[in-house]
Structures are given as C-alpha cells and as structure tokens.
Symmetry: C2
Subunit: 507 residues, 2 copies
C-alpha cells in the first residue's frame, strides 16, 4: 500500500520537480564550498580563474531554476493536495527563486556573478591599501547591477530597496525599518551619551596582551563545543573576517581569527557557534533543499547574538568556565577576578569597527549602514561621497570619526559581495534575541541554567521553536509562534537600557 503510494508520487508534479531542485541544490552547495575555500585557503592568484568556474556553476543553477518546465510544475504543485508543510515550503522557496531569477537575462546574471566573485579580492586589496578609490568603480558596477536586478523584480511601484530588503527579511520594509531604526536612534543615541559620560570606570587593559595563538585556538575549540557546537558535524577554521557557512546540516563551518585581544576570538567564536548551532538544528527532512537553511538573515543573527550576548556576556555563563581561562592564561588572567573579567567584556566603548563593537553601540553601527544603503539605492547617492558621509554619521551617532577608509566604509565585505539590504538584519537579530530572552525568562531561571552549565535546556527551546523549522516559517511568524507576540523592538531597547544602565549607573 505504502509502496504504491510512493510509485504514484513519482508521477506527480512534486515528484517531477524534486530531481531538478536536487541538482540546483547541489550546484548551490558547490558554490558555497568555493566561497568557503576562497575565504579560508585558496592561493592568491587563483581568483580570476576560479571566478570563471563559479560563473559557470551559477549559470547552470540559473538555467535549472528557470527551466522550461519549472514554471508549469510549480503551478501544478500549488494545486497539489496532500503535501507536507516542508514540501509546501520548498515549493514556495522554489517559486520565489524562480521569480527572482527568471527576469534576469542569463548573460547578465553570469557577468554579475563573475564580478562579485572577483570583487572580494579588489575590496580586500583596497582595504589593505586604505584606498577607497581602488574599490569605488567595482562598487558602482555592483550597485548598478543590483538596482537593475531589483528593477526587474519590483512589483507595482515597489521601491528598489524594498525588493532587496525582502530577500533578507520578509515583511521588514523601509517603512517598518524606518520605525525600528528611528526608535533606536531616538532612544540609544542619547542613552549612549549618558553612558560615556558616566563616572563608572571599567578596566579592560588585561584583555590585550600576548595571548598565545595556540592557547586561543584551544580555548576557541573548547568554547564552541561548550556552547553546543558539534565537531563531528562541523569544523572551525580561520579567516580574516569570521563567518559561518554550511553545506548541509552535517557539515557546518565556522571561522574565527586570533588577535592580541583575547575577547575578540572568544566572542566571535561563540557568535559563530550560535549561527552554526542553528544550521545543525535544521531538520533532516529539510536539509539539502531550498527550505533547509535558517529562516532569514535576521533570525540567523538572533541566534548568533543570543549566544554571544545573552549567553556569552552573562556573568552566570562564566561561573563554570572562567577557571579554564585562568588555567590557559595564568599570566594574563591569573589575578583577574571573574567579576572584573565579565565587566571588561561588557565595557561600552564607541569605536569605528562594527565587528568589534560592544553590545550597546552595535546597532548604531548598523544604523549608519542602513541610512547609507537606503541613500545609495533610493536616492542615487554618488559612491564617491560615501567616505565622508560615513564619517559624519559615525561622528553624530557614536562620537568617533574614521581616519581612513579601512576603518570606515571599507571595513565590511558585504557590499563587495553584492549584499544590499543585509545589514539591517544584524540589528533586527539583536532585537529578536532580546524578545526571545524576555519570553524564555518567563518560564525558566535563565541565569541558573548558565550557572549550572545546562545550556542544552536553552538550546532545546531554540531548536524546538526556531532551528528545526528551517525556512518553513518566516522570522516574524517564528517569533510570533514562539513568544505569542508580533515583533516588538521595545524589548531590545529595554534590555539594553536595563543592562547598561545598571552597569554604568545611569538611566
């Protein structure tokens, strides 16, 4: 009986669609591996040649996803009954991908992919040389492609930046983000001023020093495993800029970097492990399908920020762990108490580099990028004006001004990768995380779990409500289903004000 049903299944629209999607997914996985390899290992002069390979694979991917039969099969699939929630999500994702790709001429798409594959190198060199002009022409070309592609896809007068935003966070339009970032600007900019003027002095001198790289590596591996990253299904490597990627839910890859500041690798690895634990938790039936990744960039960031900040920067977390740090670095930390250490890693220090930002100022870094992106796309801001505007906004919101583009507009790779509309996710993620924490604290003694090292309990809640669903539900729905409320950014502002108000004795 069951056998018969399966045989029938091969004949239906979904059964016919599936092998196409499997091949498309394989090509995507290959592209992910190339990206990983480029960032972590590939030799310097390989880029130009490997870009051709990436271009050809992207083209093959696009051809499959926009193949003659796909539209018809997708149409038929939507009529099909008896599909599981997972299958319906896969079809929906395929439809969106189809819509996204079908309007872009293959030649343009391929040229663009090659441009982007190559641009990471151009960006890296420009950054090294602190020379924005070396990158500007490439950036202009990328923006021009991005606007053109968004124009192809825009529906009924939809704004171009809204098209881009929708790729990263469904339902979070310019209108909604203006509200969100408006609230942050209104509440956090003046609050930060109070914090920086506070009399409370927090020492963090001991975080910088000759922390041996070998020991930092040992600590990074320990921490990743401690917070729940499974090394049987994952690896930890090194790259200039830490990131997480995955081939499927049994191959999840983190990177970090080892610097003079020990907290840099400590929190970057906990952060990336948060991303990794999300991907490891996606259900087996979803992995290697179009619905087999985290729900959205913002939801992803909520998990990494949750691990980094709500867990990792919590004093309770360090109770069972801090001794390990002191053993690894007796000279540097032997005489530093846990209390002083935890205060130091929560010190507020408005700076220039987003990835090194403290928890309070972090979203203001994102605010700058959001406002500039919107101008680049919606107001045709000239790329050449970016460095100055960037500096002005940093001065206004954070009170600091970059001395060169390497610590300013060139610091992030995102635009070089063609990611416009991505940055807001970073701030949204932190806000999602705060809302989740508020929810969790209603039903469990969160700090007590950290104190006992029972992180598995926390992970289980996240897995049950978030991870396992992959892309079946979007971020707003996941948040609603978990917390019983729509997205509420006030929790984030309250969380920050409470935590840092208490630390700095301001309100």
């Amino acid at each position: 009986m069951k056998q018969e049903k399966r045989a029938e299944r091969n004949q239906d629209a979904y059964g016919l669609l599936k092998p196409c999607l499997e091949r498309a997914s394989a090509l995507q996985t290959a592209l992910i591996l190339f990206e990983w390899d480029n960032e972590t290992l590939a030799p310097r002069e390989a880029g130009k040649y490997t870009a051709k390979v990436q271009g050809a694979l992207s083209e093959a991917y696009q051809e499959i996803m926009t193949g003659k039969n796909i539209e018809k099969l997708l149409e038929q699939c939507r009529q099909e009954t008896g599909l599981s929630e997972a299958e319906r999500a896969i079809i929906r994702e395929a439809q969106e991908e189809y819509d996204r790709l079908v309007c872009i001429p293959p030649k343009e798409y391929r040229d663009y992919q090659e441009l982007v594959a190559e641009s990471a190198r151009v960006w890296a060199e420009a950054k090294e040389q602190q020379d924005f002009h070396a990158f500007a022409p490439t950036l202009k070309r990328i923006i021009s492609y991005q606007k053109k592609f968004a124009g192809y896809r825009a529906k009924d007068g939809q704004r171009l930046y809204d098209v881009m935003l929708d790729d990263f966070e469904k339902g979070f339009t310019i209108k909604k983000l203006d509200e969100f970032f408006g609230l942050l600007k209104q509440e956090l900019v003046p609050f930060l001023k109070k914090v920086t003027q506070s009399q409370v002095e927090i020492r963090d001198d001991f975080l910088t020093g000759d922390y041996p790289e070998e020991k930092q590596r040992e600590l990074a591996e320990f921490l990743a495993e401690y917070v729940g990253f499974d090394f049987k299904r994952g690896v930890l490597s090194e790259s200039a800029h830490p990131f997480t990627t995955n081939l499927h839910n049994h191959d999840v890859r983190l990177t970090t970097h080892y610097k003079k500041r020990v907290d840099s690798s400590v929190f970057s690895v906990i952060h990336e492990a948060g991303h990794g634990i999300y991907e490891l938790g996606v259900a087996d039936e979803l992995t290697q399908t179009l619905a087999g990744q985290g729900a959205s960039m913002g939801m992803h960031e909520s998990q990494s920020r949750f691990f980094e900040n709500m867990i990792g920067r919590n004093e309770a977390f360090w109770e069972p762990v801090y001794e390990k740090l002191q053993e690894l670095f007796p000279e540097e930390l032997g005489k530093i108490s846990r209390e002083i250490f935890v205060k130091a890693v929560n010190k507020v220090q408005p700076g220039l580099i987003r990835t090194e930002a403290d928890e309070l100022t972090y979203s203001l870094h994102v605010l700058v990028r959001y406002e500039l992106e919107k101008m680049l796309i919606e107001e045709s801001l000239d790329v050449e004006e970016l460095p100055k505007l960037w500096a002005d906004k940093y001065e206004e919101y954070l009170g600091v001004r970059p001395k060169n583009p390497a610590e300013g507009v060139l610091q992030d790779i995102h635009w070089a990768q063609g990611s416009f509309g991505y940055f807001p996710s970073y701030a949204l993620g932190s806000a999602f995380a705060a809302q989740m924490l508020q929810f969790m604290k209603k039903s469990m003694d969160f700090e007590e779990l950290l104190r006992k090292g029972e992180l598995e309990v926390i992970r289980q809640v996240l897995r049950r409500h978030i991870h396992r669903f992959g892309k079946i539900r979007d971020s707003r729905q996941l948040l609603r289903d978990m917390t019983g409320e729509d997205f509420e950014p006030r929790y984030y502002v309250e969380y920050l004000k409470e935590k840092y108000g208490s630390l700095y004795q301001v309100r």
Copy 2:
C-alpha cells in the same frame, strides 16, 4: 578583419561546443574541490550527505558530456580546418570522454559515483580496524561496476583490464606491461637480494626522533618553494595520505603529513611539489579545458619521482640545503654529516608500505599490485583471497610479509576510489624519469646545477618538453619528442643498478 573572424567563429562547431565544455569543466573542478575538501577538512559525519551532492554534480557532468548535440558537434569539429593543436586536443579528449560516458546508463553512473564517494570512508574505517572483511563487500561492488563499465566500452574483444589501463596510460597494454614488469621482476628481484645481503651497513637511526611538527612544517614549505613550487598559485595542507590536486594552473594543492621520521615529510613534499610544478607549468590556453591537465598518470608520476629521487635523493641537491636542516634540527642532525644523511635517505630496506618504500624496492610494490589487479579483472579472482595472495607476493618479491591488512592490501586508497589500472603508472613514471635523466645528462652537468641550486634550468627543460603541453600529446609521444627514443625501460634498470650497486658495492 580580426573581429569578423571571431564573430564567424561563434557560429562554427567548435564555437558551439566550447560553452558546453566550459560548463563540464566547471563541474569537474567542483568535484575536485569536494574531493580535496573531503580529504583535508570535511567533518566526519558529512560524508553521506555530501556524497549526494557529488552524485548530482557527476550526473550533471555526464549529461552535458553526452548531450544530444555533443556527438554531432564533435563529428563536425573533426571536419573543421584551421583549429590549433590545443583545440584539436580538446576535441579529442571530449570525444574520448563522450565515448567513455555515453555507454554508461546515467542512473548506474550516478549510483557508482555515490558508492565511490562513500567508499573512501568505509575503506578508512576498515583500515583503522585492520578489518579487510569490512571493506570487501564495498570493493566487490566497485570491481563489479568497473568491469561492467569497461565491458560497455571494450572494442572488438578488447580485454577489460586493457580498457582500464588505457584510461591512465595510452598505448601501455597488458602485453606491454607484462614485458615491462617482467623485466623488473627478472632484473630487480635478484639484484635486491644481493643488496640486502651486502656487507655495507648504512645507519639511519637519526632520521627517526622527536622532530617537532612546527619545524617540519617550516621545512616542508621551504623545500616546496626551493624546488620551485609557487605559493602564489598553490597551497600546502595536511592529509592522512599525501596527494596533489588542482583546480587549474593557478590553484595547485599539495598535502603532506608529519611523522616521527623526518624524511617522510621531506620526500613526500618534494614528490608532491613535482606533481604540482607539472600542473603549474601547463599553458594558460589549455588550463580549464579537457586538455589542461598533465598528459597521463605515468607522466605525472615521472615528474614527482624525478623531483623526489633524481633531484631530492641526489647528494648534490643537499650541498646548498643541508645546512638549513641542521639549523632547524640541531639536536637531531647537528652532528650528522651531509654524506651520512644522504646515504641514510637512500638506504634500501624492503618494507610493507608502498608510500614509504625506498627507490629501489618501490617498483616491486607496484609489481604486486599490477599482478593482483590483472587477476581481479581478467581472472575473476575472489576479493576474499586478496589478503593471502598479497602477503605471498610480498614475501616472494620483497622478502617481507604483512601481519595485518592495514599494512597489506588495505594500505592504498586507490581501489576504494575505483582506480584500477592506475598502479602501473607509478612504476612507469619512475622509468620515464630515468629515461629523461639519461637524456638530460647528455646536454648538461646535472649534478653541478643541483650543487649551485640552479633548479630553474632543470625545470625549464621539463616545462619546455613536458609541462606546457598538458594533454596535447600522450606520454609516449612526449617521451619520444624529448629524448628521441621510444620508451626504453632498460634505462631505469641500469639507473637503479648503477646507483645502488655503487652504494652497496654489489653488481
């Protein structure tokens, strides 16, 4: 005028074939990257899932290479005039690939690819457990596929093993290899007996010790660069079994391993650098095409063996370099003279492991594999009998007998990867290398160049006669064009007898 010609070119058969071949080549490159990644980095539990990806990419590759138009385009291409030598070679390779693939049903090909992707893991575990029976069923399935596939391709009563041999070394049939290995058996087995009975004692105790891994790594990088490997276009990583692979001529990858015996990494890295230098030397117009790799497995091995043995185990090579070793390992080598060191790394010691074999016994290890492969394919030898036959042959030719399958039949990954007909290339390569050395010595003072560290002169000869041609010419033709003679295995026997006769005072 030139413009016009190019426009016309897009219309001709080769112009139409090219984009198909480019996509096929991109898929192959992706498959190579997955293999590299599996061997060097991928997490333990990824294999089963990643194998699906590899299966889907292989299937896509096969579909392109056997696509409807390909046969017709290839037919038309053969009529085309005005093609360059490179283009003709690409077409010939495409035709061979077409012939090889078109007769294999896609489903079978895909199942086989997945089997092979998975079997490396089964083999590795069986080897770790020293349990041949854990691998035997997988090996049986692989052999059965291999014979079936060879059967599809065999022309007019061609023997199955000949079909396989032809994939690795054109023109080297069972008949020709029986002659070659017959000569080795007849000459080297008795010669080895004399050597092992010689009164000459060579000490090599100092090669084993606590050579720090960090220092070995430094040495490996130094040596690779010293013999001419270009790290701007290549990387050196680690894996259980050293190997070389490449994505194109600007991304060539070596691996080595670091053991208690310092000469293990020293000579494996020089060996792999030889492979790497070959691929780095392929002409730009050939790379990323079907003719853009080394001519054959045997020709490849000739280059790695040439670097490892003719260059690396030559006393003259160490004159400018040995001091560096002494600096890196003052405790271990400070008091060992260069003369004693070079004798030690040329010590003849019949052993069980092919990859650790000395230069003299090396081809006898290959002889064992050749005879067994031939029996597996041509005489339907039962896989279960392999361990005993393997042991018997080792005892007969080398005077040693494995105590378990890990140091016997399970030592090499090749059969687990479906490579039958590959092993003979290892011995042929050494013989090609000896013939090249004999030729080079006629026109240059080889030892003097080594003594002066002028390896570039030697590399140039190899590049001019061998490397740059990629697959344009086959190994026999390259050898003939370079040395003015057909393949002549006597040079190899003479080279070995002269070198080791002198070292051990026998003849």
